[in-house]
């Protein structure tokens, strides 16, 4: 049973020939969630171009427009398709800008988690012994707290030590740091496990016989071979990070109301829910659900596609 493998050197060609692409092209759920995710990312990225209004431009907001229902309601206004919030900002525009902040915070904290987690995981797995025990006990301790609690703690501490007038400017960085730190353990554990397997493989021993130093072995040989599971975790973690950001913002410790994220919008809308202004909270909420669902389904598919046992 020989396999005929055409030799192609173009990366693009190899991608379209790969099993991953084959699995993707035959999985409608994966295709739809990929389209939704990419669509939302593009919409958020180009928000200044496609949003009907700039919700951050105080001059363009008129308090007289506040709390308008969506356009299909009798009292709706064609300028505001999904209605307006309590300050007269168009809901559609705030969702586009809000998703932008949610995604920036989500992506940045995932990248931050990955850097911390992968580095510590590689060191832990390769060094072994006391270094390994030390790093893994810290991970265990952190795992015994809910992630949201750690994020809240870091957020609170940061607010305590930073002067009040700087809060608005740095709040987004604090948020990224808080969510990022609360998620590194997953990466560290996965990478440590894979590193333990990889470091005993003969290609690593061959590199050691050549004389390659540990740092280079980790970077050049082990890192590329442990990235598969990491990408799966990262996708699922992105959904969690977006939710965590929304939760923190909902609790009022996230981004300031002047630059609202999806979570902030849901919180603002929540106060008006009982006065009948449902649209302020439902539309951002629905956006959040769809975004997180799409990213999660994409992560699920990727996990199955990359797992040889389930194939």
């Amino acid at each position: 049973m020989e396999q005929v493998q055409p030799t192609t050197n173009s990366r693009v060609q190899r991608f379209f020939d790969s099993d991953i692409w084959y699995s993707f092209a035959r999985n409608p759920v994966a295709i739809i969630s990929a389209i939704v995710t990419i669509g939302m990312i593009l919409a958020a990225a180009f928000a200044p171009l496609i949003a009907p209004h700039d919700p951050f431009d105080l001059a363009a907001i008129d308090i007289m427009d506040s709390s308008m229902p969506p356009v299909w309601d009798a009292y709706g206004d064609p300028r505001f398709i999904l209605g307006t919030d309590d300050q007269g900002r168009g809901i559609l525009s705030t969702i586009l800008y809000g998703a932008r902040i949610s995604l920036i915070v989500g992506f940045s904290s995932v990248v931050f988690s990955m850097i911390v987690g992968i580095t510590l995981g590689l060191i832990s797995g390769y060094a072994g012994g006391r270094t390994d025990a030390f790093i893994m006990r810290i991970a265990d301790i952190q795992l015994s707290f809910p992630a949201i609690l750690i994020a809240l703690l870091i957020d609170g501490v940061a607010r305590g030590i930073v002067p009040k007038e700087l809060h608005t400017d740095i709040s987004i960085y604090v948020l990224i740091f808080a969510i990022g730190i609360s998620g590194w353990v997953q990466y560290a554990r996965t990478v440590r496990g894979s590193t333990l397997v990889e470091k005993n493989k003969e290609y690593v021993q061959a590199a050691r016989v050549i004389g390659i130093r540990p740092f280079t072995i980790l970077r050049r040989h082990i890192l590329p071979n442990v990235m598969g599971p990491v990408m799966v975790i990262a996708t699922i973690h992105l959904a969690i990070a977006i939710i965590t950001e929304a939760t923190l913002s909902f609790l009022g410790v996230g981004v300031p109301p002047t630059t609202p994220s999806l979570g902030t919008l849901i919180r603002i809308g929540n106060e008006y829910l009982f006065s009948g202004d449902w649209w302020i909270t439902i539309f951002p909420g629905a956006t959040l659900v769809i975004l997180v669902l799409a990213v999660n389904l994409l992560g699920d598919w990727m996990r199955d596609a990359l797992n040889p046992k389930l194939r």
Binding site: K201, E202, Y203, Q205, A207
Partner: protein, 575 residues
């Protein structure tokens, strides 16, 4: 009437790259009391036949043509439920790995009694008696007590005996054994094969043995079918196939089997499966990079000298030294290797031979003793930079070609890595030129350099591995079971290549193998290891003709008898 009749069997595996025909128009018969061997190299489709007969074909594989008759009754068209009843009851199975074919959570008794009761409906008491009786038949001492044990309390060979007892439980008419001894050491292999043959004759059971090993075929089978790419190319009595094969594939397969009795100059005509690489250009080693500036001095005395080497592993770690449980994987090993010599190290699994190799190339730090290389004790070197000078002179070829190459790197970068690390070339162009020449020199061709390891077969990967080892221009090469993961014809090619390179470059080699015939073909002197100790060191011919240690004699006696094999076209080296 044939006991088992496989007729025009065709098995296809549809896949996205097109349908793979794993088995093509295969017809085989087995008579009661007969052992039929099915031999072939990996991918020949021999295991697929076995799976199809017992109705355990893995999806998406399907039987598209042919039928299987058990005592004239067609069994391939039966319902899954009816097939399940035949499995174990009328057709027994023995698989390769005795570790995984027994349930670790149940005692041997539970597994045997359950199977016997299920098939023969004897009731618990009778079943128990029969289980003890079976264990006695397969040679397990003290079966009344041992039957209460769990699988992990048995050694590998004993466990395979239990698996055989399990296969015999319901007095099957046919037994299919898929590589039954591949996972076992030679000493145990011989006993198990003997047992299987005896049981087969006594009970008039028909047996199909699926194997890649000509030694197993020679030891146990009555008739042999040789498979090549899904087809049976030749079938006949064992004596005929081994002694006077007709088909060129069979001839090349047999000529590639390493001989325990004679030493060959090279393995002839072994390029049937994988084209043996042709070098496209000859390199003048006196001027080429590969032969040039070897800046090491000639040594007086041996190049490598091991003195009282000890390696200790901790089996039970503890904070206090006194509580730790340790064992000596290598215990007081000393030997010398002279420049230009090929030194073999042979022993069964767990004898510590690989550990010695890893201490020589500084992957492990010895607990005691000295590794003197070219007059310097490597265990005393403190700085990494100082050690690099010796690393360059000493390289290693590993056992498993599928894990010894980083799958994320192109072949060019894999082979260039040691050259770049040790700064052995002045420019990038020169590095590329050297890598291409090296690839050509190991018979791969320069166009291999832009490809990734997964695009190559096992034998080709081992060539890449050899090219990487040569890239530092070493004078000492450690080969740790370099061919034990390869098919026999590929093994012959790789051994030929190593022989050629050793001669051309005047390499000194430490050659590790569990396979005595391979050792005989490759080595000038041999050391025999047993449980961490060196029991004998002698010149190869002396070792095979007049061994001194009792353990060596034992190993030699257990080698499969291959004296029936054809000698045609072989060039014997006079030692």
């Amino acid at each position: 009437m044939d006991l088992l009749n496989i007729n025009n069997l065709r098995i296809e595996f549809p896949s996205r790259h097109g349908t793979v025909v794993a088995v093509d128009d295969v017809s085989l018969t087995v008579q009661p009391g007969e052992v039929l061997g099915v031999v072939g190299e990996s991918g020949a489709g021999k295991s697929t036949i076995g799976n199809a007969v017992i109705g355990l074909l893995e999806p998406p594989g399907e039987m598209t043509e042919g039928h299987v008759l058990l005592k004239s009754e067609q069994i391939d068209t039966l319902s899954p439920e009816a097939k399940r009843k035949i499995r174990g009851r009328r057709i027994g199975m023995i698989f390769q790995d005795p570790l995984t074919s027994l349930d670790p959570l149940q005692t041997i008794e539970q597994q045997l009694v359950e199977t016997i009761d299920l098939h023969l409906k004897l009731g618990e008491k009778k079943s128990q008696e029969r289980a003890v009786d079976l264990l006695r038949q397969v040679g397990i001492p003290d079966p009344e007590h041992r039957i209460k044990n769990y699988p992990h309390q048995f050694s590998g060979g004993m466990r395979q005996r239990v698996v055989i007892a399990l296969a015999l439980c319901a007095e099957p008419e046919v037994i299919i054994a898929d590589e039954p001894t591949t996972a076992l050491d030679v000493s145990i292999q011989a006993q198990i094969l003997e047992l299987m043959r005896r049981l087969c004759k006594d009970k008039q059971v028909g047996m199909i043995i699926i194997t890649h090993d000509m030694g197993v075929i020679a030891d146990i089978t009555d008739r042999v079918a040789v498979m090549y790419r899904g087809k049976v190319v030749e079938e006949g009595t064992t004596a005929k196939i081994l002694g006077d094969p007709d088909h060129p594939y069979t001839q090349s397969l047999i000529s590639a089997v390493p001989r325990p009795d004679i030493r060959l100059k090279r393995f002839p005509m072994v390029n049937y499966i994988e084209e043996e690489g042709e070098r496209t250009k000859d390199i003048d080693l006196s001027t080429h990079w590969l032969g040039r500036h070897r800046d090491y001095d000639a040594v007086d005395g041996p190049l490598l000298s091991l003195k009282n080497l000890v390696m200790t592993f901790v089996t039970k770690p503890a904070l206090l030294k006194s509580n730790r449980v340790t064992f000596n994987a290598v215990d007081d090993v000393s030997f010398d290797i002279n420049e230009g010599e090929v030194f073999g190290l042979v022993g069964e699994s767990g004898s510590g031979k690989s550990t010695v190799a890893r201490m020589v190339c500084s992957l492990y730090k010895p607990a005691a003793g000295a590794v003197n290389f070219a007059g310097t004790d490597l265990t005393r070197i403190k700085s990494e930079n100082e050690r690099d000078f010796f690393r360059r002179q000493m390289q290693m070829i590993f056992q498993d070609p599928f894990s010894s190459l980083n799958g994320r790197m192109r072949v060019m970068d894999i082979i260039a890595e040691p050259i770049r690390f040790h700064r052995l070339a002045s420019s990038n162009q020169e590095v590329e030129q050297i890598v291409n020449d090296l690839l050509d020199h190991v018979g791969l061709g320069a166009q291999a350099s832009v490809r990734f390891p997964h695009e190559f077969s096992g034998g080709q990967r081992q060539r890449i591995s050899i090219a990487r080892a040569l890239a530092t221009r070493p004078r000492f090469l450690i080969c740790d079971e370099p061919t034990s993961a390869l098919d026999v014809s590929i093994q012959a090619q790789i051994l030929n290549l190593l022989k050629d390179l050793q001669e051309e470059l005047g390499l000194t080699m430490l050659f590790i193998s569990h396979d005595l015939p391979v050792i005989r073909q490759m080595c000038d002197r041999v050391g025999v290891m047993k449980t961490g100790k060196l029991v004998e060191v002698s010149a190869t011919e002396d070792l095979f003709e007049k061994p001194t240690a009792a353990y060596t004699r034992e190993l030699l006696d257990l080698m499969p008898r291959l004296d029936k094999l054809s000698h045609e076209g072989l060039e014997v080296e006079q030692g």
